[in-house]
């Protein structure tokens, strides 16, 4: 299985950054191919809502930054893992910025799906999606629930198949095994 990890931790010296890389080792151990993107080191200009990715360069962001690398890594994967500490009640702005620039993965055209209006898929296949939340300082159970809820909405709209939400309150290897069991 091909697995892409989006590491939303901006501080490369933090314990959560190390945790994410231990998670990558745990996921790779059973013979899977894992690519970890440390978003803190990428040039992500952020989405400005110009819709150029829908009406100028369909399927690609017009900004020419590293968001194309992120989108390519997402679409190549069987399983996408987004990992971040929860700070001020949500995952990092870095991870959200990367997610914002994934809208070229779907169409501007709408469809009726599951009782709601959503965007139409641009691709025939999308990865499964797992979320790993680091309980940052001040994060409580409600914050984790709200964060998971927002990300599962995002996954639904971007056509990712929800797999698992895990809290990094146990070892990275244990979380990796739980993700693989659910995938």
């Amino acid at each position: 299985m091909r697995i892409t990890i989006l590491n939303g931790e901006p501080d490369p010296g933090s314990s959560f950054h190390r945790y994410v890389h231990e998670l990558a080792v745990g996921l790779a151990d059973p013979g899977h191919r894992v690519l970890t993107l440390d978003l803190g080191g990428l040039d992500l200009k952020g989405c400005s809502g110009c819709f150029g990715c829908w009406v100028k360069t369909p399927g690609r962001c017009v900004k020419g930054d590293d968001s194309g690398r992120v989108c390519a890594a997402v679409m190549e994967a069987d399983l996408l893992v987004a990992a971040s500490r929860v700070t001020m009640g949500f995952t990092s702005s870095r991870l959200k910025r990367a997610a914002d620039q994934m809208i070229p993965l779907v169409h501007p055209y709408l469809e009726w799906e599951g009782g709601e209006v959503h965007h139409r898929p641009r691709y025939s296949n999308y990865p499964g999606f797992a979320l790993v939340l680091g309980p940052g300082s001040g994060a409580d159970a409600e914050d984790l629930e709200i964060s998971a809820g927002l990300w599962m909405r995002l996954a639904r709209n971007l056509k990712f198949r929800p797999v698992l939400t895990a809290v990094a309150d146990r070892s990275a290897v244990e979380v990796a095994l739980a993700i693989l069991a659910a995938a």
Binding site: K96, S124, N125
Partner: protein
Amino acid sequence: MKMLSRLAEGWVSAGGAAPEPLHLAHPADFDRAVAAFARAEVVLLGMPLYTDAMPGLVMAFIEALAPRVAVAAAGGRNPVLAFLVQSGFPEALHSRPLERFLEKLARRLGSPYAGTIVRGGGEALRMRPDASSQRLWAQLRTLGGQLARDRRFGAPELKAIAGIERFSPVTGALLSVAFRLPLAQFPWNRQLKQNGAWDRRFAAPYRCNGSTPGEPVPDPRR
């Protein structure tokens, strides 16, 4: 910005002082907004719904407010917080999970929570002439006035401006047909043609797991 301007009009006409508009997308304004938060009496944070949550830029602003949590915990004051979430989807339900986050954010900061204006159909609003949205502008002016007078939005007005919460299955069945009609796609198709990108509208440039690289989803109208 159109919606925020109408809110500001209502605020001023109800006796509120002229608000200071700050655009987080402008780096200088971002820093000014963090500083202004500490001295403001009321802060209205307006945002579009991006991939079902706040834009990354707004989350960066919220992260920058982290020191204000300690200020509140030490007995300090934070401003009244009001929010506006505009979504491109027609139903309000898409914005409700974000609304929950925003309400919790106000609690986290020890700020009185004035409420969250949720409004769908944002893209249609952008493409329509202003004159066709008079009812919405009036609703926003009313809400702006409530914020100036009462420091909170009225629940009936929030419900009214949100419009459709969720479509019925019958309406959904009609929509599923309507979305396949060229008329429903006209605004996007017009822009695609203007940009010379019409032929590439179904492009799928990234290698897709388990399928041919770049394999697009067939157009159901073909």
